[in-house]
């Protein structure tokens, strides 16, 4: 009871977005001409089309039937993405193309609370990602796969139960070539039970050693090594939308599927990302691309979706969206922080980075900034914008105003004195700042703290160059 097989019976149709639920009769065949129908949707089934039917016969039943070409590369990509997502359950995930995955869950049973619990969790998760599936947990990988392929989900507890479950399967479930199948039919063997009853040596002599080895693997008598799937370094997911989405708000739901898939992949790799690169494809305009950033690497889908919602709320689409692409390149290991023995005593409340990410997502990257004081005599160079939380280099000066104008504002002069809605009282203190000839911002100024009639205190200066004009540069608050 160690192997969990996932079979995706509808994968060839599921790689076509919206095909399963479409009201038009649709079917998939390898070749639109000759190959029999592989799969068809509910609408086609309602008209009598069945898998295995020849294309001509199917068209006779439903004249408007569209036969889609099979897309093996898209199926493979979907299978790999699903494998990357499954790594959350066990590191030993193997692909069983064309439409299966096998998970070695021996070491995970206890963590997830037993066989049925893990089987149900996988099944719910895969269905949540939008795939129909059958999941079977059995003592051997081959046995689990063949049962799942035959639509028999559930948990097979022991070797004996596996043997009886396999015995009921038709021989067509085995991986045989056409000749082998004909031979079995000619010998009157229809079920696996008939095969299992026969002596192995005679079976090998008649039908070749391959079949016997296959039976041995199914029952666990022969080793069945399976290469483990290695998840890729970065994540790239694509989703074609079943219908064009005209407004950004409607995209959130579609994006959720990609975000969930990404976060499953990250969970399996014990990693997080800081930047999500999104690309929205339109019918005939260049793609709309944007980047979603967070200040710390994360893999919580709820957090990313909240950020995405804010970002999409700010987005205006030039045209309806047909497909979504999500890329995450800078995948970094995310280690859980150390836990406190007595959490209620821990006083350090780390500033919540999620708040700043939310503000950035809605207001733009440049709208959320910190301030830094720099050691320079020139007020313009004594500060700069920085990232929130970055330490400054200077303790500052107490005789400076609380507000600095971005640009010094020229003041009127009346009767030789500066004027700002009234005459200014210059006080007695004067500070000369004359520096910066070496880096292009040369200043030569005399600063005063001026008081207006109303009591407001202003920081003004007289330029010692050129026109010797008066300027307002700061306001004491």
């Amino acid at each position: 009871m160690h192997w969990l097989a996932i079979h995706l019976p509808k994968l060839p149709l599921e790689v076509y977005p919206g095909a399963l639920a479409s009201s038009l009769p649709l079917a998939v065949g390898l070749d639109p001409g000759g190959e029999p129908i592989l799969l068809c949707n509910a609408s086609a089934q309602g008209r009598g089309v069945r898998p295995g039917l020849a294309a001509g016969a199917a068209r006779a039943l439903a004249a408007d039937l569209r036969i889609l070409l099979r897309r093996p590369e898209a199926e493979r990509a979907a299978l790999e993405r699903l494998a990357a997502w499954c790594i959350r359950f066990t590191p030993q995930v193997s692909l069983a193309p064309p439409a299966g995955l096998v998970l070695d869950v021996a070491a995970s049973l206890r963590l997830f609370g037993g066989g049925e619990a893990i089987r149900a969790a996988v099944e719910t998760g895969v269905m949540g990602l939008g795939y129909g599936c059958t999941c079977c947990l059995a003592p051997t990988a081959g046995g689990a796969l063949i049962l799942a392929e035959q639509g028999q989900g559930g948990v097979i507890a022991g070797r004996a139960a596996l043997r009886s479950a396999l015995a009921a399967l038709p021989v067509s479930a085995l991986d045989l070539d056409r000749r082998g199948r004909d031979d079995l039919a000619a010998m009157g063997l229809r079920r696996l039970a008939d095969l299992l009853r026969l002596p192995r040596a005679g079976l090998a002599a008649r039908l070749g050693p391959g079949l016997v080895r296959q039976l041995g693997r199914l029952l666990g008598d022969e080793p069945d090594p399976r290469p483990a799937f290695a998840p890729p370094d970065g994540y790239a997911g694509q989703l074609e939308l079943p219908a064009e989405v005209p407004d950004a708000g409607g995209l959130v739901f579609a994006c959720r599927r990609l975000v969930e898939e990404l976060c499953g992949y990250l969970l399996g790799r014990q990693a997080g990302v800081q930047r999500l690169e999104w690309r929205l494809s339109h019918a005939d305009l260049p793609d709309t691309a944007f980047v979603l950033g967070a200040s710390t690497p994360g893999r919580d889908p709820a957090v990313w979706l909240a950020l995405l919602r804010e970002r999409l709320g700010r987005l205006t689409l030039p045209a309806p969206v047909r497909a979504l692409t999500l890329m995450a390149r800078d995948v970094r290991p995310l280690l859980p922080g150390p836990l406190d023995l007595l959490p209620e005593l821990a006083q350090t409340i780390a500033p919540d980075s999620g708040l700043l990410d939310r503000l950035r997502a809605r207001l733009g990257e440049g709208a959320v900034r910190g301030l830094q004081a720099l050691p320079d005599h020139r007020p313009e160079r004594a500060w700069r914008w920085c990232l929130p939380g970055e330490a400054g280099l200077w303790q500052g000066r107490a005789d400076r105003p609380l507000w600095l104008l971005p640009e010094p504002r020229p003041l009127d002069v009346r009767g030789q004195r500066p004027w700002y809605g009234g005459p200014l009282d210059l006080g007695t203190e004067r500070e000369r700042i004359e520096t910066g000839w070496w880096d292009g911002l040369e200043v030569a100024r005399d600063y005063f703290v001026a008081t207006t009639d109303g009591g407001a205190r202003l920081w003004i200066y007289r330029d010692r160059h050129g026109r010797r004009g008066w300027f307002l540069h700061g306001v004491f608050g």
Binding site: T348, D352, L355, Q395, R397, L402, W403, G474
Partner: protein
Amino acid sequence: MSLEQLLAGRPDLWRGRATPAAVPAGVPTGYPALDAALSWGGWPPASLTEILDARPEGTLGLVLPALVRLSQGPRWLLLVDPPLPPFAPALAARGLDLTRLVVVAAGGDAAWAAEQGLRSGACSAVVIWGAGAAWRLVALRRLQIAAQTGGALALLFRGEAQARNPSPAALRLWVRPLAAGLEVEVIKQRGGRLGRSLRLPWA
């Protein structure tokens, strides 16, 4: 000499001002005279305070001592839509830890940004320069509730003309500049007395 001052000089007189038992301690404003006039002994904690001021840049000096004190903690100080960039050297010289300061240019989203900051619990104070925007009563109430939820100080600067409009704020002050300081009038105070006018020197 005003009646207020006369009465204040008579400690033997019971004046019927029942101080509620459970007034939470406020954040000291840094001005002892103002602390004494407020029933919390400082800025009302986890509540909205409105400061009405004719000048668009408001009275940063009035709230700065409290911000300096709060910047020693682990939480952010959010400045939403200041009309000018605050001058970093002056703030640093007064002891404000600039690494806790976040300046947000919210544009039309000031109410949203302020509410996010207050509600998140990640901010100890959110200062909003709201003179440019029309604040509806609902928006103010949301700020008050967000401040309660997140346990943060909400300080909102608005124009003088708003004094006549109702507000859910716990405290409303009317501030006018004087030659050597500020004149502060308490025009609303939850559970406290109104009409008190104070003169504060520059800190």
